[in-house]
């Protein structure tokens, strides 16, 4: 690429007035992101409507069902409940993405953490807040430990984290099954609904809205807020993002890639450890192969992508997914199969990614042109 300077060096004078600080560009960027995501959702709904039409379903009924669902308070609480684990899962993925680490292993990390936390919680007998805190800490540490294996393999053995985290998902499933069947299973329970020993009352997190929404939702919002401060405002977060922007430049500047990789994966795993805590602390009060929700780790990757790894984006994307999930029962009543709901989710993700990519390119070109125009105006004055 040629690097001809476009303007003569004229350091002082007229430049002074255009050197005033401005926050506008940052705001403009998030505005573009939000707008392009909205456009993408609308396009996706359009495609879904066509798809429904082709499969012989009535798109109008489906749409009215969706709108009805949106006006139903219970369904909105359901949306938030379903969004909670996705917020944790997507945040875990986003922490890695911020430095170009692909933690595909959230699934294994959170299931391992759920088992360890539930088992530890069932043995503890502490005053309320302490008991809950202890369970959360076990979850954080267990998730981090499982992700730590991938961190070790990456920095010591140069094994790419995509390979190791995917493989560790499978290992986690078998390992958890073995631990559960051999040691942690509550043998007093018969039948299909096998679980670990139920956690005592003190180790349960109260509901915000009785039977509808657990306070884990608030913890999810707090974790996202911490994520925002740490990644976008802290020195550590700067190093993380710098490694993601340009790993070579970051290590040339003395930011240790090894250290950042280890910390990022441990943090990502720790947050992953919280994914199933809504179930363990608020609903089932135990770990159980059929009681603990699965597949949330993979959904988190999608939500993180959809939310462009930004805290606000993640919350909105998680709520959107929670909403689509909560409409699926109603849609099935309206004769829209659940598989179509899943396809709609996939279409939304694809269109958001495509539309955003286009928007970012356009913004970049515009930014460069604006910089030139402002300079031309500045030196001409």
């Amino acid at each position: 690429m040629s690097e001809t300077a476009t303007a003569p060096s004229r350091p002082s004078g007229p430049l002074a007035k255009i050197l005033t600080p401005s926050r506008a560009s940052g705001l403009r960027t998030s505005g573009t992101t939000l707008a392009s995501s909205l456009i993408a959702v609308i396009i996706a709904l359009g495609i879904s409507a066509v798809m429904l039409f082709i499969t012989g379903k009535d798109p109008v009924t489906a749409l009215t069902t969706i709108i009805d669902t949106a006006q139903n308070t219970d369904k909105l609480l359901e949306m938030m409940r379903r969004a909670t684990p996705l917020i944790f899962s997507a945040t875990a993925v986003a922490i890695g993405f911020k430095m170009n680490i692909f933690n595909i292993g959230v699934e294994g990390q959170y299931l391992f953490a759920a088992l360890m936390a539930a088992e530890a919680g069932s043995h503890l007998s502490l005053p309320g807040p302490l008991h809950v805190t202890a369970i959360l800490v076990v979850a954080l540490i267990s998730g981090a430990a499982w992700a730590g294996i991938s961190a070790f393999l990456k920095v010591r053995k140069n094994i790419h984290e995509v390979i190791s985290t995917i493989m560790l998902n499978y290992i986690a499933l078998s390992f958890i099954q073995w631990l559960f069947n051999s040691f942690f299973r509550d043998d007093s329970v018969e039948g299909l609904n096998i679980k670990t020993t139920i956690i005592e009352e003190s180790g349960r997190l109260p509901d915000l809205v009785e039977g509808r929404l657990n306070s884990m939702f608030i913890i999810a919002l707090i974790v996202v807020a911490i994520f925002w401060v740490v990644v976008y405002r802290s020195t550590f977060g700067f190093k993380l993002r710098a490694s993601g922007y340009n790993a070579t430049a970051a290590s040339t500047a003395g930011i240790s890639a090894t250290k950042m990789t280890v910390i990022a994966l441990l943090l990502s795993g720790a947050v992953a450890g919280l994914v199933a805590m809504q179930s363990v602390l608020g609903e089932t009060h135990a770990y159980g192969p059929s009681a603990t929700p699965i597949q949330l780790g993979f959904a988190g990757i999608t939500v993180a992508l959809l939310g462009r790894n930004h805290p606000v984006g993640i919350v909105i994307a998680a709520l959107l997914f929670g909403f689509l999930d909560s409409t699926s029962a109603q849609l099935q009543l309206a004769d829209v199969p659940n598989s179509i709901v899943k396809v709609m989710q996939a279409i939304i993700v694809l269109t958001v990614v495509i539309v955003n990519e286009a928007a970012v390119r356009r913004t970049n070109i515009k930014t460069a042109e604006r910089a030139r125009a402002e300079l031309a105006a500045g030196s001409g004055a």
Binding site: T4, A5, S9, T235, F238, T252, G254, T367, A368
Partner: protein, 507 residues
């Protein structure tokens, strides 16, 4: 010789976001000649050649090939018009044979069966026409750089090219290979082909070309011939009349040693040392230049000094032994670095300028509030750098990619020098930037030097090396083969040291 030019460009312009790469470019290449295009890095040569080879469409202007006006939408259009390109970085498949590489993409034969007998006959015809000889059945991985380049040339001819573009063909060659290449080029034009030869090595250009077009800051500024101009005249045309001088070796070298490197060795990829036992001492207020053809260990030397690659030997800065220190510890000890490749090693292109200023300095107390970044402080600091170093930008929140190369470089120099380093490792500090920015960068380095900084200056610009350095160490094949006094050596003597020709008489 036909009177219709092989290639004629009129008023070619090409803009990229934030950069005018080419404007008003006129070029007239006579058929059957070697036509050199010279200019500094960033003068727009590569952009122009990409336009001519169809890799990008110009915003304005016309291209005529052998008298007919053409529009190239892709390289295949250019190939159809008889234009071929030998890239600076070879595009060969290592594990295929020479023959397979040559025919790759234009395999002769019918119904998917390759007729290698026909291919072999045609390749042998081509090779004899340009009096070259290659073993067609060995894998390319076994060939040296010069031979690979000839494979590329034969490949281009195999596709029917009559006009060959060679982009900096000598950059990767050792001197004997350069001579062989020039023989090949002469045979090519004797055989009726036309060669466009892009270079910034003036001696080679004067030796081999029939006509010379000079480019400067995105446009063609002069047409000349080797017979009517000498080396310094050509250099002046390249940089413009306002030729800033890197002179000013008024330095007052103190006694205290700031950087001491002993027996530094870096292992390369193939088990050969990339840097072989280099020892360098730089005192306060001293600039030591490193001269060498690119790829002779300069990058590895700098990377080892910064602790970016493993090495053996000792490195001390101001007496502190940094041999085992991390990159950050070396920065903290006062060792600063202006990197070879600002995009790869120096900048976060998508991040705002103030975050780029913060890079490497994020742990300094003045830019932090506890665990948080003090954005107000680093932004104000960036505004100061923008003013002091004359970085042309709307403001400090502009992303780095929106700036021209020279202004990006000024920001890096500002970020680096404002740490008040004791030792500066400056790699090509003015590469690819405009003349004004060049003078500004030199001024700043000189000023810091006058305040006692020691500088290790790696540069491909011999004028810069001769003008700024107090002594010049020549690197060849990983070793420091000579240490020269810039007052006693001319650019062309330095050039012959760099190619190893003076090795036996090295002091």
């Amino acid at each position: 010789m036909s009177s219709t030019p092989a290639v004629e460009l009129r008023g070619i312009g090409k803009r990229f976001p934030g950069v005018i790469a080419n404007y008003n470019v006129d070029l007239n290449v006579r058929a059957g000649t070697i036509h050199a295009i010279v200019g500094e890095n960033g003068a727009g040569k590569s952009t122009l050649m990409k336009t001519l080879y169809g890799m990008q469409e110009p915003d304005s202007g016309t291209i005529s090939v052998e008298g007919a006006e053409r529009r190239f939408k892709s390289p295949s259009d250019a190939i159809n018009a008889g234009i071929g390109m030998v890239h600076q970085h070879f595009m060969l498949a290592d594990n295929l044979t020479v023959l397979e590489n040559i025919i790759l993409g234009s395999e002769p034969g019918r119904r998917g069966i390759i007729d290698s007998k026909q291919a072999r006959t045609r390749i042998e015809e081509i090779m004899s026409a340009i009096s070259t000889d290659l073993d067609l059945d060995v894998p390319v991985s076994e060939l040296g750089v010069g031979e690979r380049q000839r494979v590329e040339i034969v490949k281009v001819l195999f596709r029917g090219a009559r006009i060959l573009i060679l982009d900096e063909p000598t950059a990767v060659l050792v001197p004997e290979e350069v001579d062989e290449l020039f023989v090949t080029l002469s045979s090519l034009v004797n055989d009726g082909a036309t060669v466009i030869f892009i270079s910034h090595k003036l001696d080679e250009v004067l030796q081999v070309s029939n006509d010379i077009t000079v480019m400067r800051q995105g446009t063609t500024v002069a047409e000349t011939t080797p017979g009517s101009i000498d080396r310094s005249g050509l250099a002046e045309l390249m940089v413009g009349s306002e030729l800033p001088s890197p002179e000013g070796r008024t330095s007052d070298i103190k006694d205290d040693v700031r950087l001491n490197v002993e027996n530094l060795t870096v292992m390369g990829f193939e088990g050969r040392p990339a840097v072989d036992g280099a020892s360098i001492t730089i005192r306060s207020g001293e600039i030591v230049g490193i001269a060498g053809v690119e790829g002779n260990g300069q990058y590895e030397l700098c990377a080892a000094l910064l602790g970016l690659v493993p090495s053996t030997g000792t490195v001390t800065v101001d007496g502190a032994d940094l041999t085992k220190a991390t990159t950050r510890q070396r920065h903290d000890a006062g060792l600063a670095y202006i990197p070879f490749d600002r995009h790869r090693e120096g900048l976060m292109l998508n991040a705002p300028l103030w975050e780029n200023t913060l890079l490497g300095r994020e742990d300094e107390d003045q830019f932090g509030k506890g665990p948080l970044v003090d954005a107000a402080s680093i932004r104000a600091y960036t505004v100061d750098i923008i003013k002091r170093f004359g970085v042309l930008t709307p403001n400090e929140t502009t992303p780095a990619f929106a700036l021209s190369g020279g202004n990006q470089q000024k920001l890096i120099v500002g970020r680096t020098l404002t740490t008040n380093p004791g030792v500066l490792v400056a790699a090509h500090p003015t590469r690819g930037i405009d003349v004004g920015a060049q003078a500004a960068v030199w001024d700043e380095i000189r000023r810091a030097r006058d305040n006692g900084m020691a500088v290790l200056l790696v540069s491909a610009d011999l004028e810069e090396l001769l003008g700024l350095s107090d002594s010049i160490a020549v690197m060849f094949d990983g070793s420091i083969t000579a240490t020269l006094n810039p007052d006693d050596v001319t650019a062309s003597e330095l050039g012959s040291y760099m190619t190893g020709a003076h090795e036996e008489v090295a002091s």
